[in-house]
């Protein structure tokens, strides 16, 4: 009787682990849009002014050039906000009407704490387009040494 119970337990457990393993392996198929691009190479690197100028003067062309791509932007911090439970860094430009909204990936929390207004940083994110500001999502932060 005891041996039978043990046998049943083992088969049940292995069955359970089998199911869990199956779902675990399947999981990567359903990755979130909010993926981490910290270790991916950017397609383009430029500074905040160049990016904003490109979008403000020729939006359609710039969309073709930048939209959906990982780009690396260097600029100065205008504002850090925590609206809607999102961590957002806004970069300034020479043209005060426009800026770059960078939605920071949750795994960058520690670096975010070190940021201050007017600090110069490098941000890597996926460009989504332009409204009044250029929008970058899934951003990772690269702190620059003070020059």
């Amino acid at each position: 009787m005891k041996i039978k119970n043990k046998f049943l337990l083992i088969t049940l457990l292995s069955f359970l682990f089998g199911i869990l393993g199956y779902y675990y392996l399947r999981n990567p198929l359903y990755t979130s849009t909010e993926k981490n691009i910290e270790n991916e190479a950017p397609a383009l690197a430029l500074n905040a002014n160049e990016l904003i100028k490109a979008f403000a003067t020729a939006e359609d062309e710039s969309i073709k050039k930048y939209e959906g791509k990982i780009i690396e932007v260097t600029g100065f911090i205008k504002e850090i906000t925590f609206l809607n439970d999102r961590n957002t860094v806004i970069l300034t430009s020479q043209n005060s009407a426009f800026g770059i909204i960078c939605d920071i990936h949750p795994n960058q929390k520690d670096k975010l704490k070190q940021l201050q207004q007017h600090q110069k940083i490098r941000v890597k994110g996926i460009c989504k387009g332009f409204l009044k500001d250029v929008i970058l999502l899934n951003c990772s932060i690269d702190l620059l040494p003070n020059e």
Binding site: Y30, T33, L83, N84, I101, D103, G129, L131, K132, D133
Partner: protein, 182 residues
């Protein structure tokens, strides 16, 4: 002559200041949509919605990038942008409207109807949205919820997937405005 000219310039600059003062901006508005079916629930959020509120003219304008919607699954994002919304052709959704009987000076919460044109997928439709407007020390927050029919905006869903996507999509929005100063 010079005096008059300088006075004129002054007047114009003040007039400009006056009109700017009535404008409020939300760069990080939030728009969420839900599709509930028995097969699956789909939710997407856009946290970078732009909106400008003019309290003098009682007007509101909203613009958002369709590709800035974040989904739980990558595949949903792809289907949404490539097949349904066709973001390459129609990258933005816009709304322009008027807040009916809006009293900007009133402190606290007021419920008003916003009437205007919603443009998604290149198709404009007149809608009315019941919204809550809160005024706290001169800063405005607008909240609301409405339903939109998929067929109204000529969004084609293939028959195989029709059971996965609701016929009416529930849309929620939240805008926190700040004075628009340049």
């Amino acid at each position: 002559m010079n005096k008059i000219l300088s006075l004129l310039v002054l007047c114009i600059s003040f007039a400009n200041l006056g009109s700017k003062k009535d404008q409020y901006i939300a760069r990080q508005g939030q728009v969420t949509f839900f599709s509930y079916t028995s097969v699956e629930n789909i939710e997407a959020k856009n946290n970078q919605v732009l909106s400008i509120l003019d309290i003098d003219k009682q007007e509101i304008a909203i613009s958002m990038l369709m590709r800035a919607f974040v989904f739980k699954k990558d595949l949903m994002y792809e289907h949404f942008n490539e097949s349904y919304i066709e973001s390459d052709l129609y990258p933005k959704a816009n709304f322009e409207g008027k807040i009916i009987d809006f009293d900007a000076s009133k402190k606290g919460v007021q419920t008003k109807i916003i009437r205007g044109n919603l443009t998604i997928h290149g198709i404009s439709k007149k809608i009315e949205i019941k919204s809550t407007i809160e005024n706290t020390n001169g800063n405005y927050t607008i909240l609301g919820k409405f339903d939109a029919s998929v067929t109204d905006f000529q969004i084609k869903i293939p028959p195989i997937l029709s059971s996965n996507i609701a016929k009416t999509i529930s849309i929620q929005f939240k805008f926190q405005y700040q004075p628009y100063d340049e």
